[in-house]
Amino acid sequence: MALDDRKTQFTFVGTRPDRPDGLDKVTGRAKFGADISAPGMLHGAILRSPHAHARIVKIDTSKAEAHKDVKAVVTRADFAELPFQPGLEGEFWNVLENVMAGEKALYDGHAVAAVAATSALAARDALKLIEVEYEVLPHVTDVDKAMAPDAPVIREGAADYSVPEGMHPNIVRYHESGHGDVEAGFAEADLVIEDSFVTEATHQGYIEPHACLGMLGNDGKGELWCTTQGHWIAQKTCAALLGIETSQLRVTASEIGGGFGGKTTVFIEPVALALSRKANRPVKIVMTRSEVFRATGPTSSASMDIKIGMKKDGTISAAQGVFRLQGGAFPGAPGDMTAMCAFAPYNLTNVSQIGYDVMANRPKQAAYRAPGAPMGAFAVESVIDELCKKLGLDPVDVRLKNAAHEGTKASYGPTYERIGLVETLEAAKAHPHYSAPLKPGQGRGISCGFWFNHGGETSVSLALSEDGSAQLMVGTPDIGGSRASMALMAAEVLGIPYENIRVTIADTATLGYNDVSHGSRVTYASGLATIKAAKHAVEKLCERAAASWGIPADAVKWENGCAIPSGPNAGDFDPRPLADITAHMGQTGGPISGHFEATPEGAGVSFGTHIVDAEVDPETGKTAITRYTVIQDAGKAIHPTYVEGQYQGGAAQGIGWALNEEYVYGDDGRLQNSIFLDYRIPVASDLPMIDTVIVEVPNPGHPFGVRGVGETGIVPPLAAIANAVSHAAGVRMKQLPMSPPRILAALKDNG
């Protein structure tokens, strides 16, 4: 299946060496966010609103300030005055408002004040001495209710230009796209199904809570250590929120214990710095799990209407979707992404999609792997499955018939280059899982999924040492084994062993700007930059060899880690290995390094197809996932084990999202389940072995063919599992999570 004629071209790429950070992680030597301390360090703690929506009438911090162990107390007044601007331009303002409430507390858990004290216990106790007077306001947490005419207004004037006149102020962005004539398409259909779907917010559930250590002096110079997916964005945001110069704040990323998109912004970091500036001491803040749930970004919740028309032969004649996403008390819910991704796997003549970004009294949503896409896929792929069932068609055949391919005009506008959806569907059809018999009570579901992937600003620097080893500095925190992949790509270009390359996640002072590790961009963009930086160093190596041989630089080429004459006319010289050239680099022109800075634009979109078997207990509504296969196009798997890890992780998180994970709010607007006991991510024994198939349809936009793999894997699971469960239960499940009470209720309603 893999179009791997290229495989033979590689020596290191495609092998599976141990990850360089493995030993540190299994021995406990790795330093995560909370694993740092500094002389004179204070401990910070944050006071949070118990109300979903309330005006802050007064904050009296005098008693806390008088506490003998307290060295500083901060409120909103201690941050920079940023002018409020509507829409996305005001993102710094939104982040400021989120990390420390201004006039109103906008959700249960919203930060309202913070203290720094000599011990964590003292800080916690001191919070109880802060007196806050609230005027409780009506609240709304449900997306449909937040759009209703009588919904409480979260903030006037937050909507941007895209929102049509007359909509509720809680609707802050509006997206509309598509092509063709859907009404004409529906008229051509033999069967049209129209249905509505709902998904609850879920949290990324990373195991490591947010943690940081901040130091900021009155001279405006600072240091920040934090667990993050992107330390340059942390640098930029903290500098803006504290009114200091970006370059005066040096940010170092710790090892990261999971992020999945949730660590692409800041929460506690500006607070630690503000406390530090006031106390003139380093301040450490570590969130509790409950704070993580209440006050960091879960994904959006969604409410969606889908209408699809199909002909008897399986051709989709028209498709239409309306996607309403709630993203907390700030603009940013990815209703546009949901709309753009929902129909992207298909070659459609008539398609129309609308996305809403809606505010409600919940924490500010953050990215979560392919933000917005899984919900849309759940709704669309459920309707396609129902159409297949009613028309008696095979669900893989129908998807193959409609699958997008090179040259297809995508539902969201552009024309696809070479893509691998058809290959994943063909692999699914050929996979033994697809034809394996099912036991009574079991059902099988399939779904496709799409994600854009991203390039982003990238800087990489590579330095050779005298002994012929290499150090590679990248700026994208390693959230999935990327240091191993970078070392493999550098080894491939330099022709030196993987083990001889040390990859470091450089701090903000040692490398140019880097975007966050998001958008499945790291192996693509930092990988591309690594290859180019290594090639840059190779050019210099060839120049040194050429000079030593007295021939022109372009008469030398690089092969298997050695400089050699490029052909018989260039002269007859013995190959010069890398270490031979670097051994003399001090006398032959100085250090040899390579670097690359750019915004790579060729991230290839990626597709996956998942096959799932589920078994439902008809008496209790409990679901077991009995078999799971992920098939996805990786373009080129640099380190196949870590590609498989991404596929399995996407499926595991999807199983949680589909079956049990949800934000549960009480009538009072407070989060009911802010601990892992009641926020039910899957435990190991809930999961089957998740099989993977890596399809390789090279991305023309990357030297080795890489497409990002981190996000697409979470797009199909919700739909694939819902389809499997619906077949097993004999009733269509339209609301996530499909928890046992919901399934049992659906079974009862069905008689």
């Binding site: 916690r124 409950s290 008496e619 209790t620 509504g621 409990k622 079956l659 049990n660 549960v664 009911q672 389940n673 601990i675 006991l677 009641d678 039910r680 899957p682 435990v683 024994s685 809930d686 928890s739 046992p740 009470p741 049992l744 209720a745 009862k748």
Partner: protein
């Protein structure tokens, strides 16, 4: 916070009787320490009962009954060579609690006195007819397990009283017990419904039965109607259906983040049937 580690139950009782504010006994600490850290309950007095002689013992008495010390852990119960053969339902119920780490600490008494309506070992103990010795300023008294909890987080123990031993009756012939709980996942979760069944047979006919429900009312329930519905039967389908209906009828649950009223009521009946079948098979000496 004052911490004490008395050498006897009399001493522990005296310490508790004279304490002011909030007092907690420290057995495994898997509830006490979790509540302390999450600031739910910050005790003024903590009385560690693990230093008292014999608190980890698991003894089979001459008449076949069992006496367990109040600090015997779930892991020690599971590893005991004979206890699980007599009372597999009680041992399995205790074994469902938490993880391997929690099993190394958690106790039956802590599970009971924490007062959670969803406590797993409690319905199994009630079905088995377990009693406890309560030591107080006025000496000892023996109390049935079902008489200890009086509401969520509340027990019938008064200030100065604590449990000093756990008594499980002799198994006797042709008996079997079982405990099942419903959780949405496969482990590490709190029971949405729990059902304990203990019965005895004469031939194929049930002659004695006790059925207990957890997580479906403010306290554990011992349901007479459930017992009646199977006593005298061979656990045929009609008896099982009556059992399920009686279990559902006894429920007085709440709607919360863990389950709905309708769900708990329905599933109590389903689990009652399933647990009864296992207990029945065990009473017949079959593997179940």
């Amino acid at each position: 916070m004052d911490y004490h580690s008395p050498a006897s139950f009399a001493e522990a009782s005296a310490l508790a009787a004279n304490a002011t504010g909030i007092t907690r006994f420290l057995a495994g600490g898997t509830d006490v320490l979790v509540q302390l850290r999450s600031e739910l309950v910050t005790p003024d007095t903590l009385i560690d009962i693990k230093k008292i002689d014999g608190v980890r013992d698991i003894n089979c008495n001459a008449n076949g009954s069992w006496t367990l010390g109040v600090a015997a852990t779930g892991a020690e119960m599971s590893e005991h060579p004979d206890l699980g053969r007599d009372w597999p339902g009680v041992v399995e119920a205790m074994d469902l609690i938490g993880s391997t780490q929690v099993q190394g600490r958690a106790t039956l008494t802590g599970n009971l006195c924490n007062g959670s309506p969803a406590a797993d070992s409690v319905p199994a103990m009630v079905a088995a007819g377990v009693t406890v010795t309560v030591t107080g300023p006025d000496g000892d008294r023996e109390v049935a397990v079902e008489d200890i909890p009086i509401g969520p987080g509340k027990t019938s123990l008064v200030q100065g009283e604590l449990i000093s031993a756990v008594h499980i009756p002799a198994r006797g012939d042709n008996g079997g017990d079982a405990y099942l709980r419903f959780i949405p996942r496969t482990e590490m979760d709190i029971a949405v419904v729990g059902v304990g069944v203990n019965l005895r047979l004469d031939g194929d006919t049930v002659t004695e039965a006790r059925v207990s429900l957890g997580a479906v009312a403010p306290t554990v329930l011992l349901v007479e109607d459930c017992a009646k519905s199977i006593i005298g039967s061979t656990l045929d389908d009609a008896a099982l259906d009556t059992l399920a209906a009686a279990a559902s009828a006894a429920c007085n649950p709440i709607d919360d983040k863990r389950g709905t009223i309708a769900f708990r009521t329905e599933v109590a009946g389903v689990l009652a049937k399933r647990a009864a079948k296992i207990a029945y098979a065990r009473a017949k000496g079959e593997q179940a």
